[in-house]
Symmetry: C2
Subunit: 213 residues, 2 copies
């Protein structure tokens, strides 16, 4: 029974990594479509999101089956419940990448954001990419030093998010309301993406240490 | 054992209702603080959100204990797993109400939004209030006709959300970028609030019928 459970748990871990890898791809391509106004890239991110949703559902069903058939307790139980929660955060990260691609698609062939903000967005995307990279590594290795990296990347994203808002409120911001709306939403999506990364990291930390960080 | 389980499950249901009731209060007061620039109301919503977070954690711990101690299967298992997910949606709804109150606090003593959009926001708030009201009733009664109401309220919120964006892109929108940013975020928060209501409704529907609606 124990051996079966370990194999099942391993499989759940593999699927979380698989979903995270797709989320990373979605983020990178969504950011590219958004910053370079690439409509094909945007379309693909939008349609590929179904794959992430499908895998999340499959993983959730697997977790529920494990609960039903193996009746795990203690740390095994927490591993399954945490996996359910991580899958939900990862699915949201996929949605947020899709939302960024949707802005790109809506504004095509125009670029959604002006040059001066694009630089900040590039940095946010870079940090979000590092976050999802660290999430993948964390799921693979359970190496808790990675959680600290994730928290610190998120702190930098928060600063950039505030910077974007400061730019929009500065006197020399002469862009249309539509640009202001797009920039507001995109910044919020990229910031939330990082939040969910932090949330996954906290769950792994909890699994390993039994304590919330 | 069965009797104990039923009592535990009943308690979980009661706590979901308790959290939903606090979420409703948070929404109504946040909206009031936002539309009428009431700083005290805003402060209270912001600080009361901790209570919702605390109750959610407590409920989650209870669900995990039930899984560990009772090892439920089949529909009982799904009831517990669904409760965990509903509590997470409800907690997010509390956060979104808090975000609305935070905009009110940030702009005090000014009103965050101009009169012409405030009317649309009032309608969105009214629909969100009906959604959380229906969620509470749905948790109390499992009466599935309520889910249809929730979906239809959400469809109307989506329309209003689009209307807000249309107003901001119209020629006669002469407000500052700051106002545009606040309106964009508030509209997004109120729209997401409804999404989470729908998500809770779908979980109840699934519990009762075994099928996703």
């Amino acid at each position: 029974m124990r051996k079966v459970f370990q194999a099942e748990l391993h499989q759940v871990g593999e699927e979380l990594i698989q979903i995270s890898t797709l989320v990373k791809e979605a983020l990178v391509r969504a950011a590219d479509s958004f910053l370079n106004s690439d409509i094909e890239e945007a379309e693909e991110v939008i349609s590929n999101d179904q794959r992430i949703d499908f895998l999340q559902n499959q993983l959730d069903e697997r977790c529920i089956d494990i609960l039903a058939l193996q009746g795990p307790v203690a740390s095994d139980l927490r591993a399954i419940v945490s996996s359910l929660r991580m899958s939900s955060s990862l699915e949201r990260m996929g949605d947020l990448a899709r939302h960024v691609a949707q802005i790109a698609r809506m504004r095509f062939p125009e670029k959604a954001v002006p040059e001066e903000v694009a630089t900040i967005f590039s940095e946010m995307v870079e940090l979000d990419t590092q976050i999802i990279d660290s999430v993948i590594k964390l799921l693979e290795t359970r190496e808790l030093s990675l959680t600290e990296e994730i928290y610190s990347h998120k702190a930098r994203i928060n600063n950039l998010h505030r910077e974007v808002f400061k730019m929009m409120n500065a006197e020399d911001w002469q862009h249309s309301p539509q640009v202001t709306v797009d920039v507001t939403l995109a910044s919020r999506y990229l910031e939330r993406f990082g939040d969910h990364g932090v949330s996954v990291a906290r769950k792994v930390n909890y699994l390993v240490t039994g304590e919330w960080s």
